[in-house]
Structure formats: C-alpha cells, structure tokens
C-alpha cells in the first residue's frame, strides 16, 4: 500500500517534470521554427515600392548627411523609401545581421573584407547590371571581382601618397626640387632632415602602409588572382629590408613612437616631416591642424617602379535582399558620375568612375597625386580567411626594427598558404 502510493507519487512527479521539460523544449522549438528556412534557393523578390535598409560605415557627419540626402532624392524619384543607418562597427553589425538572416539590403563592403563575404555567399553579384561597368577603374573592378565575376560597384577609393610638411622641409634647406622620386632620394633627404633634428618620415605600422614599399619593389602578399601565397619573395624581402633600415637608422618612426595614433596625427603635430597617408589626411589636417602647410606627391618609386596601395568600398547588395531590383537602381543612382562628384565635394572621397576623373582633378587640383596613384595601385588582399593572417603580419611589422624580415615573410607565407588552402 505504502509502496504503491510512493511509486504513484513518483510517477506523478515524473510526469509533472516531464511536462515541464516538454514545455521548455516546445518553447525553444517554437522559437527555433524561424531556423528552418530553406538553406539555398533564391529569396522571394518583392516588386513595387521598396523599403530599402542601407547600412553605411560612415567617416563622419558629413558623409552620413550626404548619403541620406542622396538616398532621399532617389526614394522620392522612385516612390520608394530608403533608410540610411550609420554603423558603429560595420563588420560586427553586418556579421550579426547575416547570422540573424535579416541583412540590410545595401551596405558598404570594404575591399579587404570582400572575399570573406563572397565566400559565404552573402553578396549578390550585380556588378555588370550597373550601366557602363567598364567606366570603373580596372584596379577597383579587380578588387571586387571573385572567380571572374564582378560583384559590386565601387563606391569611391583612396590611395597613398607622400605628404610633406613645408616648414620642416625648408628647415633642412630642402626645396621642391628635392622631393624624392626614388628610394635612394628618399634616404638622402631623410638624412638631411635628421641632421637638423627632425624625424624624417612617419609610417603607419601596418601592411596598409608598409605594403606600399612591397608593391614598389614588385612584390605583394598574394598573386593577383588571390589564389597563391607570394609573401616569401626576394621583392618583398627587399622592401622590408629597406623599411627596416629606415627604422634602424632613425630615418623613419612609427606614429606610436611619436605619440600619435596614426601618421596624420604625428604629421599634423609637426613631429615628422613626411608621412605616407591617403587622401583622408586632407580632411583630418583641415579639422585638427589647420595651420600646417603641406604638399602632396606621388610615392617614390622602388626597384620595380611606382607603386601604392588603394583602399575602396563597394555598395554591397545582400543576396538575401527582398528588393534586389530596387537596390540595383539605388546603387546606379549612387554611382553616377554626378552623384560621385557631389559626394567628393561633401566629404572628400575620390570618384570610382574614370569619367569623373577630369571633373575631380579640376575641382581639387592638389589631389592629382592621389588620383594618379590608381594606375599603379595594389588593392587589399582579395582572398577569404586572411584577416588573422594579415593581423599576424601587422604584429610582425610592429616590431620590424628588431625582427628578421626573412623569418617574418616565411611566417606570413606559411600562414597564407594555410588560409588560402
């Protein structure tokens, strides 16, 4: 009797527990119903008035306002609506949006992240649907081409150039005729500057600055198609050896050693006579150091001729967007030569269309060295899974003055091979 009541008791308790467990599982399963979407297959397209979500990695208020204006203009012309959101951290927010299966329709894609997004199928390959796609600089098209497919329209671009502080320049009795055009000349003027107690050059301690020397020496981290690792080559070694010699002889210093966050800051504070930076330095100097007098020149040529690095973003369209047609029309409007010039005036970026080049150079004659750089520029590494490899390369560059460049390149080569696989 007693036994049976205890066991019955236990059965009931177990049943109650089971029911509770079931309830939890059921709730979670209900929550999980959204997970069972079809993995592949085209996303249902919606025609008619679109409601575009646009996520941008804005450089500041000027850019946000300009893009919002342009988007509003497009929206009213097409009877659609477009919401522009500036991201706090574009990479992370996009990552979360893709994971949550609810990406924005249009967003900025940095060239260095492009391959990562393509390799996971996040981007719609619409590049050739934009009118006159050949008008984009070939360099920029390559940056957004994967396996022969042109994915997305370049928004604008930047290149690196040599920026010279006029006051410090004349302090060492140097003139415009002394602007270096080769590595040897660069070393020579640097020595003259050092003689008057001026730090000659400041270079950002990443592959995004030091890499320019690799391009000038005829090397790069990967082959042009992004399928081979080419880090461990004599050309790259020559470049790193040269930069190392500049650092060791105190002819160059990293911005951190000059108490600055980046080259432009060290340059603006007058702590170095030259720096290698992109066209964004104009706006930064104007805002923070308006009194600095400077000139911009193309980077000195290395053993293999001129070289620089280009940085660019494209207007990515999500493969999962419901409004692809409308999104393409939006990008079309954003990348017209006129609109690009409007953006250039608003926040100082360089148009990605060759047809806008003349108008741009006319408007900003001092930027010619930046624009000219696109002809011989090298874009970011266009291969997926390279982020940690390049971060590792950067950490090697940070201590370049005390490491063996050969060993560093071998390490990058090994890691790149493993990543590209």
């Amino acid at each position: 009797m007693k036994h049976s009541s205890v066991s019955r008791n236990r059965t009931i308790r177990n049943a109650a527990l089971g029911a509770a467990a079931c309830a939890v599982v059921l709730t979670s399963a209900a929550c999980g119903s959204g997970f069972d979407d079809p993995a592949a297959g085209p996303t249902q397209q919606t025609s008619g008035p679109a409601n575009l979500q646009i996520l941008i990695g804005s450089s500041g208020d000027a850019e946000t306002a300009a893009v919002k204006d342009a988007a509003a203009k497009w929206a009213s012309a097409n009877g659609a609506s477009a919401t522009v959101t500036p991201a706090q951290d574009l990479t992370q927010q996009l990552g979360q949006a893709f994971a949550g299966d609810n990406p924005p329709d249009v967003f900025y894609v940095d060239a260095s992240r492009f391959a990562d997004y393509v390799s996971v199928g996040a981007l719609e390959p619409y590049g050739d649907k934009i009118s006159n796609p050949d008008d984009f600089y070939p360099n920029l098209r390559t940056a957004f081409t994967h396996d022969g497919t042109f994915y997305c329209a370049p928004k604008d671009f930047s290149t690196l150039a040599l920026v010279i502080n006029q006051d410090l320049w004349s302090k060492a009795k140097l003139t415009d005729a002394d602007v270096p055009t080769t590595w040897d000349q660069l070393t020579a003027v640097a020595k003259k500057l050092k003689a008057v107690d001026v730090t000659p050059i400041t270079i950002g301690d990443t592959r995004d600055r030091v890499g320019a020397f690799m391009v000038e020496a005829g090397g790069w981290i990967t082959s042009p198609d992004g399928k081979q690792a080419t880090a461990d080559t004599p050309q790259n070694l020559a470049a790193l050896d040269y930069v190392q010699s500049l650092l060791k002889d105190k002819l160059a210093a990293y911005p951190k050693a000059l108490d600055a966050g980046w080259g432009g800051e060290a340059f603006g504070k007058g702590k170095a006579a030259m720096t290698i930076e992109g066209n964004w330095i104009k706006g930064a100097l104007q805002a923070d150091f308006p009194d600095v007098k400077y000139t911009v020149h193309e980077l000195p040529a290395g053993p293999k001729g001129k070289g620089t690095l280009s940085f660019t973003n494209c207007w990515g369209i999500a493969a999962k967007s419901k409004y692809k047609q409308q999104a393409i029309s939006f990008v079309e409007a954003m990348t017209s030569a006129d609109q690009q010039m409007a953006f250039a005036k608003a926040f100082g970026v360089m148009p990605s269309r060759q047809s806008a080049k003349d108008a741009y150079v006319k408007e900003f004659p001092n930027d010619a060295p930046f624009v000219n750089g696109v002809d011989y520029a090298q874009g970011p590494v266009n291969a997926p899974k390279m982020d940690s490899v390049l971060a590792d390369f950067d950490s090697g560059i940070q201590q370049l003055s005390s490491t063996d460049p050969k060993a560093l390149l071998e390490r990058v080569q090994k890691n790149t091979q493993a990543a590209i696989g």
Binding site: A20, A40, G95, V120, K256, D387, S388, S395, Q398
Partner: protein, 374 residues
Amino acid sequence: MAGTTIPASRGRFRGSTALRDNLAGWLFVAPVVIILGLFMLLPILMALWVSLTDWNGQGSPFRSGVPFVGTGNYTRLFTEDGLARQDFMTSIRNNIYYVAIVVPAQTVLALGLAVIVNSRMLKGKTFFRAAFFFPSVTSSVAISVVFLFIFANSGAVTSLLGVFGIDGPDWFSDSRGTLHLLLGAVGLVDPSAPPAALTGGGPFGLSWWEWLSGPSVAMTTIIMLVVWTTSGTFMLMFLAALQDIPVTLEEASMLDGAGRWQRFRYVTLPMLKPTLFLVLTLGLISTWQVFDQIYVMSQGNPSKTTLTPAFLSYQTAFRSFEYGSGTAISFVLFSIIVVMTLVQRWVMRERDGGSRRRRPAHASGRASARTGRS
C-alpha cells in the same frame, strides 16, 4: 475495516500534500527556471553546437547545410601547428601572466586598504573609503581612456620618470616581455639573442623563450589599471568582514600578549578566510575573462602581447567570421575558469579544515589563561 481504511486515506492524503507541495514548489521556481533556461542554458547549448560546426555566420547554424566538424575546432587550438593554435596559446600565455600578477596584487592591496580604512586611528574614514572605492564605480571604458593619456609617451608617467632621470618606455607600443628584460638586466640571457636551448622548441607551438616572456610592457599598464580599479571593490568586501570580527576577540588576543602582527596573522586573517576565498574566486574569474580594457586600450596589440582568450574569441568570431573557432575558444576559457576555481577551492578548503581542528585547543587555552589571570 476502519483500521485498514484509515492508514490508506492518510497515505493518500499525505501523498497528495506532497504532490501539492511539489507542484507549488515547481510553480514558484518556474519563472526563474524558464528564464535561466531560455536565456542562459539554451544559448549556451546552442553555442556548444556552433563550436562543433564550421558555421560561417550566414543564416541559422541549425539547418542541414551547416558543416559538422566534431571536435575539429578544439583540436585545432591544441594539436595542429598553425596560426589558430599560435594565437590561442599566445593569448593563454598573456592571460596566465596577467592572472598571476593581478590576482595576488589586487587581493593584497584590497586587504591592506581595508585594514587601513578600518583602523580606529584613521581620521576622515568616509573620505578614504569613498576615494578607494571610486575607481570601482567608474566605467571601465572611461578609466581605460584616462590611462591611455597617463601612459602616453608624453604623458604624466613618462614625465614623472623623466624628473628622476629615467627614460621611460613607449608604454603602449612596447611589446618586449618584462621577464625577458629582467633576465637581460640580470645578465642571465641576452634578449636580442636568446639561447638556442629555449628557442628550439616548446609545448603547443610556442618556444620556451616565448612562454617565458612575462607580461609585455604594454600589458603591465593594463595590469596596473586593473589592480587599481578592482581593489576598491574587494576592499569593500574585506572591510565588511573586518567589521564583523568581534572586538572581544582582538582584546582577548591582546590580553594573551599578541603583538600587532601576530594579532593580524593569527586572529584577523583566519577570520577573513571566507572573504579571502570569495575575493580570490571572483578575482580569478574576472581576470580570466578580461575584455573591455583590452578592447578599449590595445585590441591585442602590440604584437599580440595583450591578446587574451576572451578578446581572441570575439575577434575570431566577429572579425574573421570563424564562429566555430571563436565559440570553441570561449568554451576552453570556460573550462579553464572552472578548473582553476575548483583547484583553488580544494586548496583553501583543506587549510580551512586544519585550522578548524586547531581552534578548540586555542579557545580552551585562552579560556584557561584568562581564568588563570583573573
């Protein structure tokens, strides 16, 4: 008849009460169980699943197309020679030094501050209590930014060192290991040409020389920051425990002729043991999880010497889109914390038992001494 029915009905009655009690109990805890299950247990299990896959962050990790790699993400961290293991082991090394310095330092400092603030001699106790506690209630991001300025190359610390004729390092860009520098200064090894015996090999893809680097100069600034900010919180815990120690106990030990140090060592410290355990446990857990200071101040730079597993996990998942690897790192970190805490508990508990066994003898001895004197 009656004799048989009564127990039965009583049994049924008792059973239904127990059942009702049980149900009521479950009902009362249900909100917590559901909330914890839904927002903690379930996400943890989901993350565990992600750590077993090669999910690329597109769509849901729970559909059929997601490649299942088993323990591949974990073995890559320990057995495969590659960048993933190297980064992970570097972060573990950095964090070991970080924990080994921060935990003892903050505990000792917190205890010292608490003893000072608790002393009856001190004037303006409230002021000092507030001053010491202040860093703990300030946002860690704000404090990190202030430290960035203090330790800038032209900042207060470098200028202060300059007054004494010391040429301070470039704090945040200095990746040299302090143990390397120390060994170099003593003349044991030459940091620029380390002995081949150490560079030749070592466990988990890092050479012995790399394991023995000590925290980098950049890391020491973060260590100073954390010791300074957290010791306030722990001071408060010690202070509460100190105020709980009965004054009679101290007076008794004074009558026994115990000096200041003896009183602290044999009366105060044993009484603080539970708090000490709490402080050490909390310290261990929070130091292994250090993230915001790294995120704000260094992002793992210079040369990965401030990389920690928590930051690496974030970086791997959200920057490189390798969510599987990222979650695997966080689960390894979780198990490290659990193991460390268990070890520490075991160490502390054993001593606790020992002192408890001794206590009666002390008490009786003291009692007899007192009676003898009176």
